[in-house]
Amino acid sequence: MNDKVTLMKGNEALAMAAIRYGADGYFGYPITPQSEVLEKLEEEMPWETTGMVVLQAESEVAAINMVYAGASCGKAVMTSTSSPGFSLMQEGMSYMAASEVPALVINVMRGGPGLGTIHPSQADYFQACKGGGHGDYRMIVLAPASVQEMADFVGLGWDLAFKYRCVSMILADGLIGQMMEKVVLPEQRPRRTQEEVEKQCPWAVTGRTGMRPKNIITSLELDDDIMEANNLRFQATYRLIEANEVRCETVDTDGCDYLIVAFGSMARIAMKTMELAAQEGIKIGLLRPITLWPFPSKEVAQAAAGVKGILVPELSAGQMIEDVKLAVDCKVPVKHFGRMGGNVPTPEEVLEALKKELINA
């Protein structure tokens, strides 16, 4: 057996991957179903080894503003939460986008609205991908479908955040967070020294080392023309991200009769649906967006060419389906199937929906 292969929960993989990345800080507040992230970090005591700061904040509001500060200092900082907590963080998300600081924010979604349930959901898709806070902004949204991807997307998320000076978000759900699977963690990287941070992030608030000109991180600009110019700069960055960072996985899309577009845990369930369908001679392909923003529109349009219909199963009333419809310009029938409130459909239910909505429609 490969010694590097371990078994852990998705939430634990997030914590371990953060330490291995050489993260500088985690600030968070407990909420089910992601509390294992903070628990694992406190258990591992990375401040004794890598020097990573771990702090249980008094609220999600405080936590996101701690992240905002750490990101403004050029540090690799993160928080994790679940849906109600993510709502509380929206103000901070908007401020971070306006300040162009790199950070990693994780939402292990649960069923809403309101306090809702503690069970899996994907109903925060709009909030993550369309900007849950005020103003025009975007974040890179990564949707892991396995514990391995939970680990891998921590590093990827930070790398992209630093590359574009934006917020990266991992949008998982209670199923991926609570599930244990095999995972190979990345190698331990050293934390950057303060000198390295200042070299990599000359814009960061670090104190005026060598009496360099002062750095100010602010989201406030009362001059409308300058603020519009700031917005144009943000948008230019978003166009660059759209051009460079689209990621998705396709399975058996060549020559399939029907296409399923699903992300995260729903994509895993859909893969089983494909196995069941194949036994009945129904050819289904799967396109799994890995980046929910930027959305793989071109890839969806390509995979949709020649199919009889598309099913978009989601753990919501239908959110990503809007992006799928836009991607195919309504040239192909696109149908929704969803469960809500923390309920997760079985592979059989998805197959039934596909038959009902597309094959026998």
Partner: protein
């Protein structure tokens, strides 16, 4: 001594701290903020911490503090300054990290963060300007507005049955194990300015020595918001504010021995 003699460097008796730049302050004439800004700049300069200082400015009149004092600054969301200072200091313990907040920022919208940062004993200094009114947004009621005091949102005077009582937050913070130094000062007279400066210096030194959280409340005037001349505002403050917010040290762990 003619004018040319007076401006010779060797005859200099007072100068503006070099960290305080020449930008035109947006503060009203008579406002306490300008004096406190100068003290903060002076203390940082005298401590030799210009390369290490990081300020966190609030939402409120002092939102643009970063335009006037030439150190690195973070501009916080309303009320979140101490949360930002917490992370900044923990991530870079060798920096001098302080917040500069008004009464609305510190004692209304940010009360949760204020109390918890103090309770954790974060090694930060908090400069808390209490002028009993919301200056920036046009003179609305603050948590510290006195009973009977008129503001835009209690135009007939603050009434406890309608508006609740004025919040004296520093004594609350003095009770917390995390605070090491809690004091109330003013800047309306030369002597009080000197004392306030000593308090700020002590707070900054405490933070660098890892003693815990220091809170320096400055009971201040807002002559525009109060609709008084600067001079009358000082008088009103002495007669009304000091009764509810008496000056002096509320806690000094060091002096206890």
């Amino acid at each position: 001594m003619n004018n040319n003699d007076i401006i010779r460097p060797e005859n200099l008796v007072y100068k503006k701290p070099s960290l305080l730049n020449d930008a035109h302050m947006h503060y009203c004439p008579g406002c306490s903020h300008g004096v406190v800004h100068k003290l903060v700049a002076e203390v940082i300069e005298e401590m030799g911490m210009a390369e290490k200082a990081i300020g966190v400015s609030p939402v409120g009149c002092a939102v643009f503090a970063y335009n006037y004092i030439d150190i690195d600054w973070l501009e916080a969301a309303h009320g979140r300054a101490t949360a930002m200072a917490t992370a900044t200091k923990r991530l870079m313990p060798d920096k001098l990290v302080f917040t500069y907040q008004g009464d609305g920022d510190f004692a209304a919208i940010g009360t949760c963060e204020s109390i918890h940062s103090c309770n954790r004993g974060e090694n930060i200094a908090i400069i808390f300007i209490n002028n009993a009114i919301y200056g920036m947004t046009g003179g609305q009621m603050a948590p510290t507005t006195l009973l009977g005091q008129k503001t835009a949102t209690c135009p007939y005077g603050r009434r406890p049955d309608l508006n609740g009582y004025p919040l004296s937050i520093t004594p609350l913070l003095a009770q917390l194990d995390g605070t090491c130094y809690v004091t109330r000062q003013s800047v309306h007279k030369p002597a009080s300015v000197r004392k306030a400066k000593a308090a700020i210096r002590k707070a900054f030194e405490n933070s660098m020595q890892g003693k815990g959280t220091s809170v320096v409340e400055i009971v201040s005037t807002c002559n525009t918001g109060w609709k008084l001349s600067p001079e009358k505002a000082n008088q009103w403050m002495e007669e009304n504010m000091f009764a509810k917010y008496p000056l002096g040290d509320l806690k000094d762990v060091e002096s206890k021995g």
